[in-house]
């Protein structure tokens, strides 16, 4: 029986070996050619741009973060073979294509205005005080086209111009702050900083608080659960197990 279990884990390990260490050439059937910084590399078809660069021999320091589309580290610009259009993408979320010319953008230089959220007034003019360049937006929509999250970036910049915090927050919520919009913007707006400010202002001043949370914080501070904690913490493991099982049987589902 013991032997059977060991081989089970080995079988599981084998099934994903290509993901946990470098890919072996002999396991690859289909190939494409990409040009990274102008150099041609043969890489396995179907990999993401990030995986393909690693296959080619790059050990990434910049331009690689969560590897799952949440962190905005791996901004990439590329052109497809025979196309004039400059495309943008996250390297960890985009498959390589044959003939792709690409480069990664390791950093987006942009100063963030400093503010004290506690002291700001929830007024439209405050946004323009910190981000006067928003008024330079020419509605060219380049930011929206550059966004790898497919957000309506120009629309939230326009909302910012009107001081509509709610709309800025809602339209920009899924921003991963990769900086591609700001790099492409002809009006030199730093959209993701505008969005961060807008979201915090709306979160702090635009949405009512739930009373239950405040109430519970006070109850805990007043020690209202101390007695119950002392009781529970003095139980034997066996007693605690039965309390747990009972509690699980009263669980709320969905």
């Amino acid at each position: 029986m013991a032997e059977k279990k060991i081989s089970l884990m080995d079988t599981v390990r084998d099934a994903s070996k290509g993901v946990i260490s470098g890919i072996d050439k002999k396991d690859v059937e289909h190939w494409v050619e990409i040009y990274f910084l102008g150099k041609a590399y043969q890489v396995p078809a179907g990999l993401t741009i990030m995986q393909a660069l690693e296959y080619a021999g790059y050990r990434l320091i910049r331009s690689c973060g969560c590897r799952a589309g949440f962190c905005g580290a791996c901004s990439t610009v590329f052109r497809r073979k025979g196309e004039y259009k400059l495309q943008t993408a996250m390297a960890c979320q985009t498959r390589v294509e044959d003939g792709m010319y690409l480069v990664q953008i390791p950093f987006s230089p942009a100063e963030k205005p400093l503010y004290d959220i506690e002291k700001e007034k929830y007024e439209a003019s405050v946004l323009l005080k910190y981000f006067p360049e928003v008024a330079r937006c020419v509605s060219c929509n380049t930011c929206t086209k550059a966004c790898p999250q497919d957000l309506q970036v120009m629309d939230y910049v326009q909302a910012a111009l009107k001081g509509d915090y709610k709309q800025v927050a809602e339209l920009s919520f899924e921003c991963i702050q990769c900086g591609l919009c700001a790099i492409r913007c002809p009006a030199e707006i730093v959209q993701y900083h505008v969005a961060q400010f807008g979201r915090r202002m709306y979160g702090k001043y635009g949405i009512p608080r739930e009373e239950n949370t405040e109430k519970r914080v006070k109850e805990i501070k007043n020690g209202e659960f101390n007695k119950k904690f002392e009781e529970i913490m003095s139980l034997s493991e066996e007693e605690l197990r039965s309390v747990y099982t009972e509690q699980q049987n009263t669980r709320e589902v969905y």
Binding site: A2, K5, I6, M9, T11, V12, R13, D14, S16, I20, S21, G22, K25, G46, L47, Q51, G57, Y58, L60, I61, G65, C66, R67, A68, G69, F70, C71, A73, Q93, T94, R95, K112, D116, I117, D150, F173, R199, R200, Y202, G203, I207, E210, N212, R216, V217, I220, F225, K228, I232, M233, L240, R241, V243, T245, Q247, Q248, R251, E252, V253, Y254
Partner: protein
């Protein structure tokens, strides 16, 4: 091999199985498999959970936890030689002299910085250093939510009991109590800083359950919870002008004559130059270890999750706790190839998605604790042989995501899971119409450096917070308790390191005596190896390129 034909992102042979899932769907609505009894849970864990199945672990030969069992991949890093020769490095010039050094800028480290600042440490007497960018952390990728018992039918005591049960009653009681009692305060703190949680039109939280939680207490920001929490507190951090270094990992802690931790050696990854930091207190918040790929599992973790903190701390004599346990998240992506191992949040199951096998049959209650749920998926795939095989040879279980819209109304999936919908869309799959294929993935480091409720360790001057720590989750963490852990103990480490500093710390000469001693121990234990640690980053370079590498500069 013939070329595969694809329909809606799936090869046609997988489509056959999807048809069966569709056929059983109506019958399954509202009907769930019963939860397992404690005995059944224990049996399935012993049968096929990677932590319990034989092999994969060994006894540590040296250090404070000598004789205890840890995963081989962890032992390999603890039983390894330092990156720098302690006799050859010049420590005489201090580059940064500060009160509090924080290593790691996820939710834990960033919270620590803010609370240290709130508690009397001026911004310019704090230094936060990051291996990659500030915010490059597992925190950024947390999807599901943050637990806080704030509803009238709930209480911190119920939260405590849930976490104890989920952790198999091995959690450190006083630390766990701190976690659950601080939780509502953390949510309030985030709201006051302007974080956007899922709320109804009256401002009340939309709260869900998680695996092993008896009440609805998950506070979410769609499926970008960690990202929203972290970018808000990072923005606050930046507003306060707290000094920060990026691409500057710590590679060794420094200790003085009394073996207090008094700073660290940092290394500029891009120029190779090292810098010496002298600090009165050091907060380690370097996160977890998913990129060690324990037992060969893919991972949900960030590129930098390589166990650096415990490696450095262990050399100073810091004790580890529950270092033998690893959390495998039941629902990592198994298909397509480009996203194998990435997280599909547990919230999908709390919103109604059911796991089913290749015949569309349900086989497990969807919300068992994570270890039990994961083990049942492995059994279904590899013992009962009811998994779906992918073109790359992995096996997986269907997560029937179309149920979410059926149960909650059209548009529900898109509203609650924009990140997931987007990720699958990028690879041609519509998870609103079709199920997605999942298999357990390495998710979380349950144990770590033992801490008390204040974030202190057995080593003076060394504080820890977040995934690096051990004790609060025991041997298995529940959903929604990791982002919470980071913020509760990040805040506490900030407060208590500030108090420690304010009481007055007599910082001696920063040195590496502890590393020399550790090297001696390695040698006397006859550990002969060219392994060096901390690891800093995994290596995914292609084998062909590596085989022809020449190391010139």
């Amino acid at each position: 091999m013939a070329e595969l034909e694809f329909v809606g992102g799936y090869p046609t042979y997988m489509r056959e199985s999807i048809k069966k899932v569709e056929q059983t769907r109506n019958r399954r609505i509202g009907k769930l498999v019963d939860q397992m009894t404690p005995k059944e849970r224990e049996d399935i864990l012993n049968l096929c959970h990677p932590d319990y199945a034989p092999g994969g672990k060994r006894e540590l030969k040296i250090g404070p936890n000598k004789g205890e069992i840890v995963p081989n991949e962890v032992a390999d890093l603890l039983e390894a030689y330092p990156l720098v020769n302690p006799d050859k490095i010049d420590l005489s010039v201090v580059d940064y002299d500060t009160d509090i050094l924080i290593i790691g800028g996820g939710l834990a480290g960033t919270s620590a910085a803010l609370l240290a600042n709130d508690n009397g440490i001026p911004a310019d007497r704090i230094l936060l250093t990051n291996k990659l960018r500030h915010g490059d952390a597992n925190s950024m990728m947390a999807q599901g939510g943050t637990q806080a018992a704030d509803r009238p039918n709930d209480s911190p005591v119920l939260h405590y009991i849930d976490a104890m049960g989920g952790g198999h009653f091995t959690n450190k009681p006083d630390v766990l109590r701190a976690l659950v009692e601080d939780a509502p305060g953390v949510i309030k703190w985030l709201e006051e800083l302007g974080a956007l949680f899922d709320k109804d039109e009256n401002g009340n939280f939309v709260e869900l359950t998680g695996g092993g939680t008896a009440r609805r207490r998950m506070h979410a920001c769609a499926d970008y919870t960690g990202m929203e929490e972290l970018r808000v507190i990072r923005d606050e951090f930046r507003n306060r002008k707290i000094p920060v270094l990026e691409f500057f990992p710590a590679i060794e802690l420094l200790t003085d004559e009394e073996n207090k931790v008094v700073g660290a050696i940092l290394w500029n990854m891009e120029t190779d130059e090292y810098k010496i930091v002298r600090a009165k207190a050091t907060v380690l918040a370097t996160g977890g270890f998913g990129r060690l790929h324990i037992r060969g599992f893919p991972t949900t973790n960030h590129y930098g999750a390589t166990y650096d903190g415990p490696v450095m701390a262990y050399r100073t004599g810091a004790r580890l706790r529950d270092a033998d346990t690893v959390q495998y998240h039941p629902t990592g992506a198994a298909y397509p190839q480009q996203i194998i191992g990435l997280l599909l949040t547990e919230k999908l199951r709390t919103s109604g998605a059911q796991p089913v096998n290749k015949d569309g049959e349900e086989f497990v209650f969807p919300l068992e604790p994570r270890d039990v749920e994961a083990a049942s998926f492995i059994r279904e795939c590899y013992i009962r042989e009811n998994g779906v095989k992918t073109p790359t040879g992995m096996k997986g279980i269907w997560l029937d995501t179309p149920l979410i819209d059926i149960l909650n109304g059209p548009g529900a999936t898109e509203k609650a899971f924009p990140a997931m919908v987007r990720m699958f869309q990028r690879f041609g799959i519509d998870m609103i119409k079709d199920p997605v294929l999942v298999f357990p993935t390495l998710h979380y480091q349950n144990g770590g450096i033992e801490t008390d409720p204040e974030g202190s360790t057995n080593i003076k001057g060394l504080f820890v917070a977040g995934e690096i720590s051990g004790g609060v989750h025991g041997k298995n963490r529940l959903m929604g308790n990791s982002t919470l852990d980071c913020m509760v103990f990040g805040r506490r480490a900030g407060v208590h390191s500030a108090e420690y500093v304010k009481k007055g710390v007599d910082v001696g000469q920063p040195g590496l005596k502890h590393v020399k001693k550790y090297v001696d121990e390695l040698k006397s234990a006859k550990i002969e190896t060219d392994r060096k640690s901390p690891l800093l980053l995994p290596d995914y370079r292609g084998k062909a390129a590596l085989a022809r590498g020449i190391d010139i500069f």
